[in-house]
């Protein structure tokens, strides 16, 4: 009896469901890893695995924030340019105005927050389409970053920045990976264990139903864009810290990589359905694939082609799966 109950609980439990719903991409990731383990000499080494994780850390953070926005049926195209603006402003404050480290980095994050607030307000209060608003913000923030730097990199010399950007936890795990995991954990908990998370799914699934249930859908949406902005801001200062310099071209195309990871992770572009775990796996697939193609000595231009093919493949699998259900 208790066994049956246990099994039922397992079946209803969050963890089991998450694995089951993402089974397709989890298997794809495993197959990809196994293939690369046999095809290359260096894939399955601690060093290479850490390298893959380091390379996906920025895209991962942004994609986690993007997941919130896409769960609402929205989109945030401004994330890549926010990376550039946040990074350049905080580096400029340090290099040119001699600001101390912590406030300068915080300002970078605040920039992301501000962009998120503007996006959210224009989308909910002025009722502009998210695509247009964030496309405009993408241009504005990228332009500001270019103006700020006159198109040239800003170098910063600060011991602590070096540690923040390139330090390693226990001398093994790059801190950037830790940052990504912390953000993942926070956003995961908010999405799954708070009212806000439920409200996000409800608003994305049916905005009228959510409104009639007494949910303040406008603030739910604004907060999602703010989270996306803040996370991009963090990604911006962290990228700058890693390079101990800020380039106005940082984060170019990051919005597309993030959207790709989210979609690959099984989140519906129409909103209401998807998981953060899926996005993590989506990010990993893209990272492992890029890494694999590098190890195999394939021309790096092919990575874009492969990424595109994988996205189409993932969506086709999704459509077939949905058809079968019906």
């Amino acid at each position: 009896m208790s066994k049956i109950q246990n099994r039922e609980r397992l079946r209803d439990g969050n963890g089991f469901k998450a694995v089951k719903n993402n089974l397709g991409i989890i298997l794809s990731l495993l197959v990809l890893c196994i293939l690369l383990t046999f095809a290359t000499e260096h894939f399955l080494t601690t060093r290479n695995i850490l390298n893959v994780l380091l390379q996906i850390s920025t895209n991962g953070m942004i994609a986690f924030g993007m997941t919130y926005v896409i769960l609402l049926g929205g989109i945030d195209l401004s994330v890549g340019s926010v990376v550039a603006l946040s990074g350049t402003i905080s580096m400029a404050l340090m290099a040119r105005s001699n600001w101390p480290l912590v406030p300068a980095l915080l300002i970078g994050v605040v920039i992301g927050l501000a962009v998120g607030v503007i996006n959210g307000l224009l989308i909910t209060k002025v009722k502009m389409p998210a695509f247009i608003v964030t496309l405009a913000m993408m241009n504005i923030t990228r332009g500001l970053a270019l103006i700020m730097t006159s198109g040239k990199p800003i170098y910063v010399q600060d011991e602590r920045l070096l540690i923040i950007g390139n330090g390693k936890f226990l001398d093994v795990i790059p801190l950037q990976i830790i940052y990504m995991l912390i953000i993942f954990l926070i956003l995961f908990c908010v999405l799954n264990y708070t009212r806000y998370g439920k409200h996000l799914y409800a608003t994305g699934g049916n905005i009228e139903a959510a409104r009639f249930s007494g949910i303040n859908v406008d603030s739910v949406r604004i907060i999602a864009y703010v989270i996306s902005g803040v996370v991009s801001g963090i990604a911006g200062v962290m990228t700058a810290a890693r390079l101990y310099s800020a380039l106005p071209t940082m984060g170019e195309g990051a919005e597309m990589d993030a959207i790709a990871a989210v979609v690959l992770g099984g989140t519906m572009m129409t909103g209401g359905s998807g998981t953060l775990g899926g996005t993590l796996i989506g990010t990993l697939i893209i990272g492992v694939m890029n890494n694999g193609l590098n190890l195999l000595g394939v021309n790096s231009y092919w990575q874009d082609v492969a990424k595109g093919i994988i996205i189409i493949f993932a969506i086709v699998v999704d459509i077939i799966k949905n058809k079968k259900k019906q």
């Binding site: 209803d12 969050n14 908990c189 799954n192 264990y193 708070t194 009212r195 998370g197 439920k198 409200h199 799914y201 409800a202 994305g204 699934g205 049916n206 009228e208 139903a209 959510a210 409104r211 009639f212 249930s213 007494g214 949910i215 519906m268 209401g272 359905s273």
Partner: protein, 498 residues
């Protein structure tokens, strides 16, 4: 006899732009009664309940709850006062679980302030069981049937300590069997001592459910009657403000068989269908939703490709490989869902009306606007479509007029066989009557019509012959004097076979 009055709405006025949606309307709800709110589309009944539910704010008037004046600012206040609306277009998040939908906006939290998923699941299970439902709370909403979804919405309302439950046309999208589930649910709500406001078009269900009926027309209060004192004709007269013409009489049916189906089969939903449609005849296809009626129509219209058996038009077998084939043979299907399958809502009446006959006024290059306008005007006149002009946006028309535009769009192609799939779903009595007389008129001019409908009175009213489908096969054929609702139901549910 005089029961306590739970809600009194006095002199409610609501203005949208230049339109008075509600003009000094009074309404009264007694404790524990099911009070039907009746009226044509645009009569203001939806607006009235939205005022009560805090979705719209009234311009003037006063609402009393249990004798005390209240002001209902928003949905949240309404919920707190114990008023809950189950909306016509069910509003839930399809990809969330039943439990999450029931607790949407009031999620249980544990002492850390985090979501208590276990409690939400248990409470939902208890609430559903209390209501006598065995729906699994961890099921996704999108996997439930429509009547189950309604039950969840009702349970959701009940979980808010509701005192007044408002149901906005809940039966509009239900099949025969599902409607019965809904009625039982309403009965149970009533047994719990909760007052119900039931908005509906469907006359027959009022006599099954309601204690009293209030009728609105053009935003004005017409009157309230005890259902025991009312009959269908008097209610219709109150609603429409004019007598509705009775049955048009028999259609003149010619001997020529226009369309014949021989052993038509496709997949599991269409199996060995034999059917004859004469010139000038209106043939009904009855049966419960999911019996394969629409699927059968889709095969004839070439939408679902590939079939076995023969389709014979005017004595010659024809091949229908795609919708273009069907249209070129003069077979036209007017789909069930006018908004999704029939109309481009954001475009004008003219655009929609002439979409199927572009060849008539567009040459190799250049558009003959005069001709296009002429076709449009002719159709607007012929079908008595109420529009402000031919450039009016279709989305702004009422449901009945939208349906007329869909009809007109296809009539412009001069079809020989017209297939109508649920042509009057969700439109009001007045527009319904007009569509019936239009079908009659077309039949008299020799049109062969196939009408698919779940509305039995409609089938009885319009059809000369009725085929009843059940589980993809023909359950029986009824014509002439044998035509009776009971017989259709017996065939549809498999109680009787031919």
């Amino acid at each position: 006899m005089d029961k306590k009055i739970v809600v009194r709405m006095e002199q409610i006025t609501k203005i949208f732009g230049s339109v008075k949606a509600l003009d000094q309307v009074d309404f009264e709800l007694r404790a524990g009664e099911v009070h039907a709110l009746l009226g044509e589309n645009g009569s203001g009944k939806s607006t009235l309940i939205k005022v009560l539910g805090g979705i719209h704010r009234m311009e003037s008037g006063q609402i009393y709850l249990d004798g005390k004046p209240v002001s209902i600012e928003d949905v949240f206040t309404a919920n707190k006062l114990g008023i809950s609306i189950v909306h016509q277009e069910l509003s839930f998040a399809p990809r969330m679980t039943v439990a999450d939908n029931i607790f949407m906006g009031k999620e249980c939290r544990n002492r850390w302030g985090l979501i208590d998923a276990k409690k939400i699941m248990q409470e939902s299970k208890r609430l559903l069981q209390d209501f006598g439902s065995d729906i699994n709370p961890s099921e996704l909403m999108c996997n439930l049937s429509i009547s189950q979804q309604q039950v969840v919405e009702i349970v959701k309302a009940l979980s808010n300590q509701v005192k007044i439950l408002v149901m906005d046309e809940p039966s509009a999208s239900l099949s025969l069997t599902e409607v019965e589930n809904l009625y039982n649910a309403v009965d149970r709500v009533k047994e719990m001592g909760i007052s119900v406001i039931y908005v509906s078009h469907r006359m027959e269900e009022l006599f099954r459910l309601a204690d009293r009926v209030t009728v609105l027309r053009d935003g004005k209060y017409i009157g309230t009657v005890d259902i025991s004192d009312a009959d269908e004709d008097s209610l219709v007269t109150m609603m429409v403000g004019r007598e509705i013409e009775p049955h048009y009489g028999e259609h003149k049916i010619y001997d020529d068989i226009v369309l014949e189906l021989r052993h038509l089969s496709r997949g599991a939903m269409v199996h060995d269908i034999n059917m004859k449609v004469h010139k000038g005849e209106v043939v009904g296809i009855a049966g419960i939703v999911g019996a394969g009626r629409s699927e059968c129509a889709r095969v004839i219209a070439g939408i679902d490709k590939g079939y076995e058996g023969q389709i014979i038009l005017n004595g010659r077998e024809i091949q229908i490989r795609n919708p273009q084939d069907a249209i070129s043979h003069g077979i036209v299907l007017i789909p069930e869902d006018r908004k999704e399958q029939g109309l481009v809502l954001m475009q004008s009446v003219k655009f929609n009306l002439t979409l199927c006959v572009l060849k008539k006024f567009i040459g190799f290059i250049g558009v003959n606007t005069k001709k296009q306008n002429q076709i449009t005007d002719e159709m607007i006149k012929r079908l008595r479509i109420k529009v402000s002009g031919r450039d009016m946006e279709v989305g702004k028309l009422s449901g009945g007029n939208q349906q007329k535009v869909v009809l007109a769009k296809w009539l412009a192609t001069d079809p020989k066989v017209l297939i109508l799939d649920e042509p009057t779903r969700g439109i009001d009595v007045g527009a319904k009557a007009e569509i019936y007389s239009l079908i009659d008129e077309l039949a008299c001019k020799g049109m062969s019509t196939i009408l698919i409908s779940s509305d039995l009175p409609e089938i009885m009213r319009v059809c000369d012959t009725v085929y009843v489908m059940r589980k993809g096969s023909l359950g029986g054929k009824i014509s002439g004097d044998e035509l009776a609702q009971e017989k259709i139901i017996r065939y549809a549910t498999g109680v009787e076979h031919e």
